[in-house]
Amino acid sequence: MDWLDVGLIDDIPQLGARVVATVVGNIAVFRTAGDAVFALEDKCPHRSGPLSQGIVHDRSVACPLHNWVIRLDTGEARAPDVGCAQTIPVRLDGRHISIDLASFIESRRDERVVYLSECRPAR
């Protein structure tokens, strides 16, 4: 695990998200109404819509392009849509948010790996 501090929870609006841009793609960091934080690859399993721009409700986000509903904890699309966004481990120390960037970069090294990974909760 290689935790990287990406900012304060206060920098993200509740029921919102912001993007961490990395060389291998964007990561969406979400904040729920109850101040839980989650991180997903900013690509919807349907047609790669930017999940960071979607409406967050409870612990899901509605993709802005075609309204698939994606669970923030598992990355899983809500039935009957089938698909899974890559989850990225995220941690909250006080107000600081850090993400495990290594696992994301590792998974993106071999693009095929990403699509074969089935849905597992981040933690």
Binding site: L4, V6, G7, D11, I12, P13, Q14, L15, G16, R18, V19, V20, A21, T22, V23, N26, V29, A33, R47, G49, P50, Q53, G54, I55, V56, H57, D58, S60, A62, P64, L65, N67, V69, R78, A79, P80, D81, L101
Partner: protein, 819 residues
């Protein structure tokens, strides 16, 4: 039949044990066949009259009161000479003396007895099962107990994920409880739904905030004298102020056992529904017939008919058991299942999924015969598949279309009314009461029935679980034609609530609700913070209700409105500056050209709305692009908003040889007045300078066509998916009147339409006459116009200029950049 000695002149005495659905249905069927042949006495352990047990769920959810689910009121018993002894339990039957013995020590003689004792809810043998706060979900007493302890925020754990458990969970959640369903099997309602259907149901319940744990085995219920928590085999501990035991039912054979009748799981009966004592019959859930016990009303009502036949003398009547199909409403979701839908080697299955409508259908075939079917979300074709299953029809030649339902296969029009007409008379409409289409239509025509209530009274159709109510109403409409007007079914705004748009808008104003959380609290939303369809709608309704007071909730806006730019498929954005009435200048064009070069914007396009669209702008670039455009006086064109979009114009009298008025100038004035206004859906205007109508004014939300004597005003046009030509509203003579009529019309539309309803469908729904009436009353018109101008005072600041100066900066900046 029973021996009846010659000199006896009194009527034979029928005693019914159990004042429930099956017992009283048998009495009703008997009264219909042999009205005054028996003296009838009924003993019921419950203090109430016979009520519809199925509708306990809506009572728990607060949708119905107890009185509304009563089937036979006291007056019914008196009218039919049935002596009802409620709150009196029968504890023994002296079969030699032919006497029943009650818990109040009474002995009552019978010539024939009918056991209708129903079933008992199963209590799982875990420690703590008898603690206070642990209840079942069987009768009105259970429901009252659950209602007493259902306070918002308290924890409810429902053990059992079958129909009853899920209905209990949904009901408790409406009261704001934190609800968890604990289910032993790997998927919900495993007897009625296959794993995929069960998965959909689980997802829907979780979406509504009900937690669901499957393959979860309850081991203990903790608490000293009141339940405090439920503990599972894997050690999970769930806090619980209320525990509902809904794991199943067991036929109630207590009395039969005491009386020495033959029993197994249930009271054993033959095909004439007689127990081991030929003078004692049994009916309902307490019965075991040919090895089968039933937990749904359809088979019980068939038994009741056979018993009534026997008692009325038609001895040939026999009950051969029922092939059961279940058509259920689980928390408002249509579920249908029939036959055996388990997979098998020599079985094929056809599956249909429709994500947006939340529909899933699976039909299992074995050598081209329907063996089983599971329908989730749309059960309209359930009876048809069930008919094919029962008849064993060979479906080889309709195999491809089979999954799309009967209407599709038989080429009837796809709408519901059409598919109802296509059904044969023998098709079963009401599963509970086994009522087919022919019986209902004959009753409507024969007895001149005209309302749903009358059809229920005469045929029993839709009087039990009610899930066929829609189809019965369609039959009324199809049979009576135009003079039938069904009770309009209110459509909820979204799955998070039972309330419709209009009601929510009314309550926001009447109850003074000033924020989205307040609305969700006051109208008991069943999700913590709504969904992607209700949040934007509520944000708009609040803006419209409290101009200048309500604080806009950005996170409840669709991204285009939040970022003030249209999102593209690759995550970039488009920028469409406003061009008043479609008029521009060299200075504006130069500014646009410079911005395109400076920010290397890939596409520049003339839009159908008479302005210029810059496509492919990165989100971080937006504020800077806007700043440059602002310098040339260009502002946001709201091409992304449920708002005023464009006012298209034609050249008009300023240049055109046919121009009767200055349409361009009029268009600019209209756009200056209306830009920035948030609306239920996008609004488009146009002004043409003469009846040749070059600005296509008559397919706009509000269109103006200039004529010599003034201006013709048009409303409710649409040029999109469903093209609609405008309706002529009226003619006016001055530009001020055009502005007033436009402002008033838009304000009424803003205040009364439903979110995402454009003016075209709205005008069709409320009727042009209504709109004309509102606009004809000068005072009301002026007041609406004033309200519009007042709300515009708070919405005509350029969102681009604000954001160019740092407002909402985080929206346009990444949280961090790495590597």
């Amino acid at each position: 039949m029973f021996k009846f000695s010659a000199h006896e002149t009194r009527k034979p005495q029928l005693v019914v044990v159990g004042n429930g659905m099956a017992g009283i249905r048998a009495v009703e069927e008997l009264l219909a066949r042999a009205p005054n042949r028996y003296d009838i006495a009924v003993f019921g352990a419950e203090p109430q009259v016979n009520y519809n047990r199925i509708l306990l769920s809506p009572v728990l959810a607060g949708e119905k009161t107890f009185d509304q689910i009563v089937i036979n009121d006291r007056a019914w018993y008196e009218r039919n000479g049935v002596a009802l002894h409620s709150g009196e339990r029968v504890v023994d039957i002296d079969r030699t003396e032919k006497m029943i013995v009650t818990d109040q020590g009474r002995r009552v003689p019978y010539d024939v007895a009918l056991l209708a004792t129903g079933s008992d809810p199963i209590i799982i043998p875990v420690s703590g099962a008898t603690l206070r706060g642990v209840t079942t979900f069987r009768d009105i007493a259970d429901v009252n107990a659950m209602l007493q302890s259902s306070a918002p925020g308290r924890h409810a754990v429902v053990i059992g994920g079958g129909l009853l458990g899920l209905e209990a969970a949904a009901g408790l959640q409406v009261h704001g409880m934190d609800v968890t369903v604990v289910h032993l099997a790997p998927s919900l309602m495993e007897r009625q739904l296959d794993p995929a259907g069960g998965g959909l149901l689980k997802a829907e319940l979780e979406r509504r905030g009900i937690k669901v744990l499957v393959s979860a085995n309850t081991t203990t219920i903790e608490g000293t004298d009141h339940a405090e928590a439920v503990v599972l085999a894997d050690g999970t501990r769930l806090p619980a102020d209320l525990v509902v035991m809904a794991v199943g039912i067991r036929p109630n054979v207590t009395l039969a056992k005491t009386a020495g009748l033959a029993i197994s799981r249930g009271v054993l009966v033959d095909d004439k529904m007689r127990t081991s004592d030929p003078e004692i019959y049994a009916v309902g859930e307490c019965v075991q017939h040919r090895g089968q016990c039933y937990g749904l009303v359809a088979p019980l009502f068939e038994m009741a008919k056979v018993i009534a036949g026997q008692l009325a003398g038609s001895v040939a009547d026999a009950y051969e058991g029922s092939v059961v199909s279940t058509r259920l409403k689980v928390t408002g979701i249509d579920v249908f299942s029939a036959g055996d839908f388990a997979p098998g080697e020599d079985r094929e299955e056809i599956v249909f999924r429709d994500a947006t409508r939340g529909v899933y259908k699976r039909v299992v075939l074995e050598n081209n015969r329907v063996k089983g079917a599971v329908l989730y979300g749309d059960a309209k074709d359930g009876p048809w598949y069930f008919q094919l299953l029962k008849d064993g029809t060979d479906v080889a030649d309709i195999r491809e279309a089979l999954i799309f339902g009967q209407a599709f296969v038989e080429g009837a029009p796809a709408n519901d009314a059409g598919s109802i007409a296509a059904l044969p008379a023998t098709a079963e409409i009401c599963g509970c009461n086994g009522v087919c289409k022919g019986t209902i239509v004959d009753a409507i025509v024969g007895k001149g029935l005209s309302t749903l209530e009358e059809v229920r009274a005469h045929t029993k159709a839709s009087s039990s679980c009610g899930s066929c109510t829609g189809q019965v109403e369609q039959l009324l409409a199809a049979t009576l034609g135009s003079d039938y007007q069904s009770t309009p079914k209110i459509k909820p705004m979204c799955p998070c609530t039972t309330h419709a748009h209009d009601e929510v808008r009314k309550r926001i104003v009447s109850d003074g609700l000033k924020s989205i959380p307040e609305v969700m609290q006051a109208l008991s939303w069943n999700t913590p913070n709504g969904c992607s369809s209700c949040r934007p709608a509520l944000n708009y309704y609040l803006i419209c209700a409290w101009p200048g007071e309500y604080r806009d909730d950005k996170q409840s806006r669709f991204i285009n409105e939040r970022a003030h730019a249209n999102i593209q498929k690759d995550g970039t954005y488009s920028v469409v500056p406003r061009m008043w009435g479609g008029v521009t200048s060299a200075q504006e064009l130069r500014a646009i050209a410079d911005v395109v070069d400076q920010f290397e914007i890939p596409t520049v396009k003339i839009t159908g709305g008479q302005r210029i669209d810059l496509l492919g702008v990165k989100k971080e670039q937006l504020p800077a692009v806007w700043a440059e455009l602002n310098k040339a006086g260009l502002v946001s064109g709201h091409a992304y908003g449920k708002a005023l979009r464009t006012v298209k114009t034609c050249v008009g009298s300023e240049w055109c040889r046919f121009g009767t008025q200055d349409s361009t100038g009029m268009g600019v004035q209209l756009e200056k007045m209306t830009w920035g206004s948030w609306m239920p859906h996008k609004v488009k205007l146009a002004v043409s300078g003469c009846p040749r109508n070059c600005a296509e004014a008559t397919i706009k939300d509000f269109g103006v066509v200039a004529v010599d004597s003034g201006w013709e005003l048009y409303v409710g046009g649409n040029g999109g998916v469903k093209v609609r030509a405008c309706d002529l509203l009226c003619k006016v003579t001055t530009a001020e009147e055009v502005l007033e009529y436009c402002g008033a019309f838009l304000q009424i539309y803003r205040e009364e339409a439903r979110y995402l309803e454009r003016t075209a469908p709205w005008v069709e729904r409320v009727g042009l006459d209504y709109v004309k009436k509102r606009m004809a009353d000068a005072e009301a018109r002026r007041a609406a116009y004033e309200r519009f101008l007042f709300s515009q005072k708070f919405s005509q600041t350029d969102p681009w200029a604000e954001r160019a100066h740092g407002v909402q900066a985080n929206e346009f900046r990444t949280l961090a950049k790495v590597g």
